[in-house]
Symmetry: C2
Amino acid sequence: MELSQRRKKILRAVVEEYIDSAEPVGSKTVLSRTGLDCSSATIRNELVALDKEGYLEQPHTSAGRVPTAKGYRLYVNELMRERELTRDETEAINRGLDLHGRGHEKIMDTVGHMATELTSYPALTISAAAAVTVKRVELIYLDPNSFIIVLLLTGDTVKNKLVHLPFSFSQVTITRLSAVFNSSFTGISEEKITPELIASTERAVGDTMGLTSVIAGFLIETLATAKGGANVSGEANLLKLPEFRDPEKAHKLINYLSNSENLASLSASPDFGDVKVLIGPENAALELKDSSVVLASYNAGDNMRGIIGVVGPTRMDYSAVAAKLAYIAEGLSKLLGGGAATSGYGKLMIKGDDSDG
Amino acid sequence: MELSQRRKKILRAVVEEYIDSAEPVGSKTVLSRTGLDCSSATIRNELVALDKEGYLEQPHTSAGRVPTAKGYRLYVNELMRERELTRDETEAINRGLDLHGRGHEKIMDTVGHMATELTSYPALTISAAAAVTVKRVELIYLDPNSFIIVLLLTGDTVKNKLVHLPFSFSQVTITRLSAVFNSSFTGISEEKITPELIASTERAVGDTMGLTSVIAGFLIETLATAKGGANVSGEANLLKLPEFRDPEKAHKLINYLSNSENLASLSASPDFGDVKVLIGPENAALELKDSSVVLASYNAGDNMRGIIGVVGPTRMDYSAVAAKLAYIAEGLSKLLGGGAATSGYGKLMIKGDDSDG
DNA sequence: CTTTAGCACTCCGACTTTCTGAGTGCTAAG
DNA sequence: CTTAGCACTCAGAAAGTCGGAGTGCTAAAG
């Protein structure tokens, strides 16, 4: 059943007040916050109704109301007013995104810190490429025992490795290898680098010292790790929040976040609009049941998708966080050559698991 | 005045018991822990003496004793028994140090995590090079608008950058630039890259497009950042400790640690043996007055020195931590081609500011 | 049927009081 | 110098007290 306008107004007031104060909200507070033309008794009746419908709950009888996950959900989906970023905020973000020419990792790192700074919540960055392939291989001969492998991957990521070997080889060998790798290893993905391919390359180039497999090994390793990664910053910000007064709680969450596999699973979501909000129990992970996650995805070009998000208590200023992340993601899409973002902030669509209820 | 054997024994017992329990230690506990052949009253008399000498203190009358910084200092300098690492521990470290062929940064990152793992305290890694210079510059032409700069620095660090420019240039130009840079920019440090040098190079190569300054800019930037860096991991481990039951305290310390300039200042110590222990107020930084820092330095070759350390409460198992860090540092020295470590664990010398008293 | 004033009731959290016991310092005798 | 004995201290736990914010209900009014 659709809620009446008044109930929505009341729900919104409760949510927003609770976001501000972190304390259960009473009928009088709601009255003054909404400015509704009725008495607190009427509000109380409405609160009972919202309670029954599962949007609010009481920590205990005779306490004020606190939103449930369902309440937050409705708030986020329908009640939340879009928060316009201030000029200062957009400028700060634009400045922070002036990162032309940095590597992707460095960018994500910087942007993660920026998101933490802006929201004062821990920020996470995740990137995942559908398929990474080698665009170019270059070998730089240093001395008879060492050379550098330089790898250009899709997504314009450059990786390198200095190789020292206990036996010597000539510059010519390295040059030849370089040419061979460029002709037979470009455009292929990790799985395509089979032992057979390596063996045939070895034969083709007449390599008896195993140089080929050293290089191929680096390719495989690099392609594997370049597929995606995840990072968190600003975990300590949790400690400022009243919901983490108990260090044990904070510790558990931080631990969970420090495992990048856990983070990667956050991004494993088939449908993904522009901004996604996962509220409390909507999170699959047990460790996040009391927290909310806001994620914004961006296009990093070359079939790469990235996600930037924050983690915080369910009592979170969703509209501000979503707006900031959306704006950052949009900027990242532009920066990383993914062209325009999937959608601008103007069309901000917030998706999430709406099944609970 | 030198302490009597018995007092030393008692002091040691108090320190070690307190390290274990985090609770003030009473005379009876000392008795049972030392196994001394006297009564608790005698111990009490001794405790009063140690108290007067400033090695111990009481949180309040009628509580047990807690070591002071001075007490810890004496313990660390004289009383502490060297902790032999177990076979498991040395093996774990050796395994963790099997990082041949990774870059220096990656190694430090991994080793930092290992140190956290082993000690369950936040670990920090700092590296500082006396002078970093360029050993080799290589430019890889990609297309008329882009090329890759590959930089080999002292310390065998390789850095790269993909450059996209809005105007086009030829492969020949890039090749020529590469040669010029290799002849005039190798072996020089950051400060030597003056505007004059750039200008003269520009003239020499006939570069009218500013390619030279793009590359020189990257050199400067890279040399500057390669000079040193600092990193922390495992900050969340603080939350498990009773001394950080108050999230506010943990937050302050973590914040302090997250600023790499703060960390760098930790390494700014003229004399530095193998392992250095800084206890509570011996730390210059206010934020560390209630904590202890244990640092081990290693030789990273090519005039680079690195430090690996942990931060924890003054109540810290110094002997275990020092032994582990010393062993790690030794391994790092070997790994990073600095040859043998400054000194092996066998000769473990612990230094620190012993002025307080 | 909705709103509202009034009121009894609940119950958290803050504050106070009491109690306990670990641990002390002191004294006086061995 | 050591030690038994003892009075004393004091933090922290446990129990008790209290105020007030906020509730739900009732009954009257709109």
